[in-house]
């Protein structure tokens, strides 16, 4: 399914679009604009994802972190204990 739209653009922008379409060898202007819009939408989604990621980091920090230790080694040692605990509780019967 597709929607048809009429889009009025300033003349100088139109000229730039046509220049870019030819420069990048797109078969027509519609294809070029479609891809430009898709790329921008992907960027917007990526930026939104990054914002949500930073928010989650801040929430975790505000609530005191993971509580698994201060050094890398402490965290890894404690995570190994957590892994073993989860394995014993939920997976041991499978293996």
């Amino acid at each position: 399914m597709s929607e048809e739209i009429t889009w009025k653009v300033p003349e100088n922008l139109y000229r730039e679009l046509v220049w870019a379409q030819k420069e990048l060898e797109y078969p027509n202007l519609a294809d070029f604009i479609l891809q430009a819009v898709q790329r921008r939408l992907a960027e917007i989604k990526y930026e939104a994802w990054q914002r949500n990621f930073r928010q989650l980091q801040q929430q975790i920090h505000a609530s005191g972190g993971f509580g698994l230790g201060k050094t890398k080694e402490e965290v890894i040692t404690n995570l190994r204990k957590v892994r073993q605990q989860i394995f014993d509780e939920e997976y041991a019967h499978l293996y």
């Binding site: 990526y46 990621f53 890894i76 995570l79 394995f87 997976y91």
Partner: protein, 142 residues
């Protein structure tokens, strides 16, 4: 290139305690990643309900990240015990990576590196992955 990310990378990246792990997580929407349920359980054990919900939402929004619910085949787990991962909990992660066709496990867990011999994948930390594999691939593509 499909990869598996270990729980320690999620912890370091989300807590911001390791720059490379944080960069790796920020690239999640651009990576093909498989994660077994066991790893997510380790990561979320000490998070509150709202934080768990946010983490799952982030993973769902990353187009090529898959959370795999199915149990890893038992014979593959046995194979990884025989390859050196004596703890079955670690062997599950090794077996998972082979089962899912992952090329790398990204981890700071030295047990994988020290004990594992002859696996179908490579174990690297996030810095090595970003430096040698990810950025190199990006450069090749350009």
């Amino acid at each position: 290139m499909r990869i598996c990310i270990d729980s320690n990378q999620f912890i370091f990246g989300l807590s911001g305690s390791d720059a490379a792990s944080e960069t790796l997580l920020k690239l999640l929407p651009r990576l093909e990643v498989v994660i077994p349920r066991l790893i997510l359980k380790e990561v979320t054990r000490n998070l509150n309900q709202a934080q768990v919900k946010s983490l799952y939402a982030l993973l769902r929004q990353a187009p090529h990240v898959a959370i795999v619910e199915e149990p890893v085949p038992a014979e593959l787990v046995q194979k990884y015990v025989a390859l050196g991962l004596r703890e079955k909990a670690d062997a599950i992660i090794g077996a998972f990576a082979e089962w899912q066709g992952a090329k790398y496990i990204i981890s700071d867990n030295r047990h994988f590196l020290d004990e594992l011999k002859g696996s179908a994948f490579e174990v690297v930390n996030s810095e090595e992955f970003l430096h040698h594999y990810y950025w190199a691939t990006i450069r090749e593509d350009q």
